[in-house]
Symmetry: C2
Subunit: 361 residues, 2 copies
């Protein structure tokens, strides 16, 4: 039973998880796009298998080490939505290509050349997608520069350009679900236009791939988008609830914590701090690291092993009681733990090993 | 050699580490206080052994699971500077006491009762220290309430009050080294006064224990302080440099990263994001997640696998080059990695396994 678990620990409600997986799979099927979930959220091959069983065409990952861990677990179709750079990475990539289908992101001539210099001489062919920056201002080329990069990649022996992709993470700065959806529609529209311009310039662009949980519904609806890569939807979190993307009862991952101190009327301290919950704050409000389930309070301050709750008015708390916390941002939470506890109907069903945790290289 | 390491990875300069360990040990010896370093910073038994060899009397840890991991590695003297609560924890504590000397923090009657209810019936005796809140406003009782808590603990069978402790983390909000030192002097002065009041009320207070790297020098200098528990000093970080507590050349831990994208003149993107560096920001300035060594730029924005650098004026960058990053806050960085690379004189010497990583319960 849940009350036998020591705290803090991370609990996954398997019914909610499966419901979230089914709902996104249905949305993608209805929109007629392939679903390639970003598995950086969970890093767990068993959950990837549930996603594939529901119709996902493969996994998206950020880092080569994550894909290697997933390949070790028998999975075999990856898109690395990240500008892979350098000869060391290219050699590891070649080894991974022996046992999996892999497509990688590129956003610079130098990065593409560093891959081609290793792949080309082997006679093998690496499929790449160009990353397009649609407003996040992180990596990626601006849409108007995509053709130049495509032209620079074309002569590189060993690489084949087969698509473009973007991630509209700027949606997390929007205050309402309507504005988030508008970002998603833009994401799809601009990316499809970019693909058309590339095709008009003579490039075969098979994959037009959008990303992110909050923009998924809107961006998938744009004709010409071929693939969507949401990640967070498997678990959801307080940020998704706050953005209006899901309801509190859609949050499949919570942290079980114990009240270790009630030192003053204005604060309650939990045994879950930033080494359990990460220091990521709720977006776009920037006002909480997590929500205590049942509307009892917000985590307003974290140190490494202490979570300070601002209690909701009228709530009472006592040392030793246990609470559930919905994290502000779920992805880095999972990355802090070796195992999550799988729960169904309030009973412990087993554990989920976070096989790709910490695979940052 | 360093340039054969794949990135991102965490590198420890062993010469600097040993110098930092020796300097703090010397400061404690000169001040005549016991040094009990907080090992949550490194979570590595080998480093604890270096600290003990230099004169530390034992380790401080936050969580029971960390102490269990250290005991597994053969270490045997722990103070858990954390309000341990509940019967499950008390049972684990009893098991740990079979193989180690353990003292734990308490800050509430309820917490103390929950430990005594398990320890008392065994006939064993658990040493506890009361946590005093000296301004951090996290856990702990206010100095004026220490006697009430001591009186409530006294009749609890199985517990023996043997000291008091505090952590002046509020020093991290101070703008200058002088003001940080003033917090440290207050920390020591108020805690010693609190100990004297408890003694006058009939309690034997053997341990008067202060904490934190930035306040260590000032708080150790106060007569009556018996122990100091700094943690960060083994590695140091950009926050300690910014506070004037150490110099850049005292930073023993860096993250080796690769430039994966130079998408615009105003930013450079590294392959180290919050899953490598954590999301902890530099204190008290709140303006960087890390510094690129050599003054080349500040990490001003992190997403999970991307670190965005604001390049210093006049610097040039190219895709594929490698840089060293000094993290804003080193403790959560270590907690993200299974192994650190030990380096001496620019050559790889071995690896350090982070044995207590993720032991949050």
């Amino acid at each position: 039973m849940l009350d036998e678990l020591d705290t803090p620990c991370v609990v996954v409600d398997m019914d909610r998880l499966e419901r979230n997986i089914a709902a996104m799979a249905l949305a993608a099927r209805r929109a007629g796009v392939r679903l390639r979930p970003h598995a950086k959220t969970h890093k767990i091959p068993e959950i990837a298998r549930l996603q594939i069983a529901a119709g996902a065409s493969g996994m998206t990952l950020a880092k080569l080490g994550e894909a290697e861990a997933f390949a070790d677990a028998g999975l075999g179709d990856f898109f690395l939505a990240y500008p892979l750079v350098g000869e060391t990475k290219a050699r590891r990539l070649l080894a991974l290509m022996e046992r999996a289908r892999v497509v990688v992101g590129v956003d610079s001539v130098e990065g593409a050349q560093s891959l081609a210099s290793v792949v080309g001489p082997t006679g093998r062919r690496l499929d790449v997608r160009i990353e397009i920056d649609m407003g996040l201002r992180r990596t990626g080329v601006l849409p108007e520069n995509a053709i130049d990069l495509a032209r620079a990649i074309a002569p590189l022996r060993g690489l084949r350009l087969r698509g473009i992709f973007t991630h509209a993470g700027q949606a997390y700065a929007e205050p309402t679900a309507d504005k988030v959806a508008a970002v998603g529609r833009d994401e799809g529209t601009v990316l499809v236009r970019c693909a058309e311009a590339l095709r008009a310039a003579g490039f075969e662009i098979e994959d037009v791939s959008v990303g992110s949980t909050p923009t998924a519904a809107a961006s998938m609806s744009i004709a010409g988008v071929t693939e969507c890569r949401p990640g967070t939807y498997v678990f959801n979190d307080a940020t998704q609830v706050g953005l209006g993307i899901c309801q509190p009862e859609d949050c499949a991952l919570t942290v079980l914590a114990t009240v270790v101190s009630v030192p003053a009327a204005d604060r309650v301290v939990l045994d879950a701090g930033s080494k359990t919950l990460s220091s990521d704050i709720q977006r776009p409000t920037g006002d909480a690291y997590g929500m205590v389930a049942g509307g009892r309070g917000r985590l307003v301050r974290l140190t490494e092993e202490h979570g300070v709750v601002a209690p909701a008015p009228g709530t009472t708390w006592h040392v030793g009681e246990r609470v559930e916390v919905v994290p502000a941002h779920v992805c880095p939470v999972v990355n802090l733990h070796d195992r999550l506890v799988a729960v169904r109907g309030g009973r412990v069903e087993g554990e989920l090993r976070v096989a790709a945790r910490g695979r940052v290289a």
